[in-house]
Amino acid sequence: MTRPQLLLLVIFVAILFALPLLGNNYVLRLATTALMYAVLTIAWNVVGGFTGYPMFGMAAFFGLGAYSGAVVQSSGYPVALAWLVAIVIGSAFAVVLGFILLRLRGHAFAIATLVIAEVLSELTNGWTSLTGGGMGLNLPFFGWSPTALAIFFFYAMLGLTAVALATTYVVAHNRIGFALKCIRQNEDAANIVGIDTSRYKIIAFTLSGAFAAAAGAIYASWTGYIEPSDVYDVLFSIKPIIMALLGGMGTVFGPVIGAVAFLALDEFVWRNFLQLHTGVLGFLIVALILFLPSGLSSISLNRLWHKTASA
C-alpha cells in the first residue's frame, strides 16, 4: 500500500466510524446497505476476481445465510449464535458445492452457479414447517429504539466488512493469492507446475460463501422479515459483479469503491424513477458494460480535464 492510499483509507474509516454521530437514520440505512454490498462484492471478488471463474451464485449463499440465521434466531437463541451458525452452514455448503461445481469452467460454471439460488429458493418454499415457506419468516423484535438498532446493525456490517477486507488483503499477499492468480492466468499450467488448484479454488469458494452467508444473516436480523423471493433474488448475484467491474476486478479495495459508487447511482434512480427503476438500472448496466468496461479506474481525471479544457 502506498502512502496516499493509506491516508485515504484512514480518512474513509474515520468518516465511517463518525457516521452514527450524525444521528440520521436514513443515512445510516444507506451506509449499512452499502457495506452489505461491499461485503458481497468482496466475497464475489475472491472467486470471480482472483481466480477469474464466472461466479453467478452469490444469492445462494446470501439467502442460505439469511435463512440459517433467521431460523436459529427465531427459535429464541441469541443473535451472535445465529450469525455464527449461518457462517458455519454457509461455509459447509460452499465446500460441498465447490467440490462439485469447480470442475466446470466458463459457460458451464456460470449456468450451474446461476441456478443454485433458484433451487435453494424452491426448497425453502417447500419446507414450510421450518422456513414458513412463501409466507416468509418473522424474526423476534429486539425491543430497542430505531436509532439504537440502526447504529447496532451499521457497526455489525462495518465489522464484517473490515474482516472481509482484511481477509482478502491477507489472501492477496500470500501463497493462496498467488495460486489463485495463477489459476486465473492458466489453470492447466498452474496444475502442471504443482499448484494444488482444486484445493485453492475450494478455499476461495468457501471464503466467498462464508462472507456472503454472514452478510445474509445480518441482513435477516436487520430487516426482521425475510421471504425466499427476497433473499434469493438474482440481483444479489448480479449486483456484486457489476460493482466489482465498476471498482476494478481482482483488486483488494476496488470492490468497496464499486459498491459505494453503484449504490449511490442505484439510490438516485430509486428516488427519481420509481416505476422505471429496474429499467433504468438495466440501462445503467448496459451503459457500464459498453462504455466503461474496465471500471471507474479507466477514467483518467487528468485526461478528462484536458478534454474539457481544450473543448
Binding site: 433458484e118 426448497l123 448480479i238 448496466i285 448496459v286 458494460i289
Partner: protein, 287 residues
C-alpha cells in the same frame, strides 16, 4: 393406462420446449453468449399473439409469422448495435450485458402490458381428442407440430442456405471464416435474429396453452438452460431431442416428486449433465 397419458403430455409439452430452447441453443453455440433476453423475447412473442387475437381476431398460429418478423428485427439490431461490441469478451461481460437488456425489456413490458397474467381464450378451440383412454388436447398438439416444423426449417436453413453455412462456419472457426470473406458481425446478427425469431414464435405458440405475465421470462429461460444442455449446446436436433426429454422429465417428475419441485429436479439434472455429459445426451458437437 395413466402411464401413456403422462407420456403423451410430456411429448406434447416437449415440442413447445424444443422450440423455446432451439434459438437459445443456436445463440449460445455460435456466439458463445448465454442470452438472458431469450425469456423476454418469448414473452413478447406471447403478447404479439395475444393482442393480435383480442384486437384483430388473428389466430395465434398465424401470429407466429408476425412474431418471427418483429422479434427477428429486434434481435438483429440488438446484436448489431450492442452485443457485437463485446461479443468476444468473457462470459461475465456478455451475460451481464444481456441481463441489463433483460431488465430494460421486462420493465418496458411491465409498464405497457400490466402485471396480471393473460391467456388467449380461443373462440373456437379444437377441443380434446379421445384415443381409447388417452386425452389429447388438440390445440396444444397442433402448436407442438408447428414448433417442430419451425425447428426443422431452422435446421434446413443452417444446412442448405449460404447464410446457414456461414453461421456454421463462424461457429466452428471464427478466424478462418473471417479469412474466407464471411462478414462475421453480420453473421452474428443474423444468428441472433434467428434465435430471437424462434423465441417469438415459441411465445405465440404458448399463448393458446399457458397464461403468461410480463415477468414470466426467467421461467422459460431456466427451462431453456436445461434443454440446451440436455441436447448439447448449439445442436438443433439436440434441442429437439432435449425438449422432448425435458417434457417427459417434467411430466413424470411432477408425478414422482410433486410439481412444486419441478425446477429443482430440472436443475439437479442440469448440474449432473454438465458434470458427466457436457456435450449433451447425443454427444454431438456440431449441427
Amino acid at each position: 393406462m395413466i402411464f401413456f397419458q403422462y407420456l403423451a403430455n410430456g411429448l406434447i409439452l416437449g415440442g413447445l420446449y424444443a422450440c423455446i430452447a432451439a434459438g437459445f441453443s443456436l445463440v449460445w453455440g455460435v456466439l458463445s453468449i448465454i442470452n438472458l433476453l431469450h425469456g423476454s423475447f418469448i414473452v413478447l412473442g406471447f403478447y404479439i399473439a395475444y393482442f393480435s387475437y383480442t384486437l384483430l381476431g388473428i389466430h395465434p398460429f398465424l401470429s407466429v409469422i408476425t412474431s418471427c418478423v418483429v422479434l427477428g428485427g429486434i434481435g438483429y439490431f440488438i446484436q448489431l448495435g450492442l452485443i457485437n461490441r463485446v461479443v468476444t469478451s468473457s462470459v461475465l461481460v456478455t451475460l451481464i450485458l444481456t441481463f441489463g437488456l433483460e431488465l430494460m425489456m421486462n420493465n418496458a413490458m411491465l409498464v405497457s402490458f400490466s402485471a396480471d397474467y393473460k391467456k388467449v381464450l380461443l373462440a373456437h378451440p379444437l377441443g380434446i381428442a379421445h384415443l381409447g383412454n388417452l386425452f389429447i388436447p388438440l390445440d396444444r398438439a397442433a402448436s407442438t407440430v408447428i414448433a417442430f416444423l419451425l425447428i426443422l426449417s431452422l435446421w434446413l436453413v443452417l444446412r442448405l442456405t449460404s447464410v446457414g453455412r456461414a453461421i456454421v462456419a463462424v461457429r466452428f472457426d471464427r478466424q478462418a471464416a473471417l479469412l474466407m470473406g464471411i462478414d462475421v458481425n453480420r453473421t452474428y446478427a443474423i444468428t441472433f435474429a434467428l434465435g430471437a425469431a424462434l423465441a417469438g414464435a415459441a411465445g405465440s405458440l404458448l399463448s393458446v396453452s399457458f397464461p403468461i405475465a410480463p415477468l414470466s421470462g426467467p421461467l422459460f429461460l431456466s427451462k431453456a438452460f436445461v434443454i440446451c444442455v440436455l441436447g448439447g449446446v448449439g445442436s438443433i436436433p439436440g434441442a429437439a431431442i432435449g425438449g422432448l426429454a425435458f417434457g417427459l422429465l417434467e411430466s413424470f417428475g411432477a408425478v414422482l416428486f410433486g410439481s412444486q419441485y419441478a425446477l429443482t429436479l430440472a436443475f439437479v439434472v442440469l448440474i449432473i449433465l454438465l458434470l458427466v455429459r457436457p456435450h449433451g445426451l447425443l454427444g454431438v458437437r456440431g449441427f
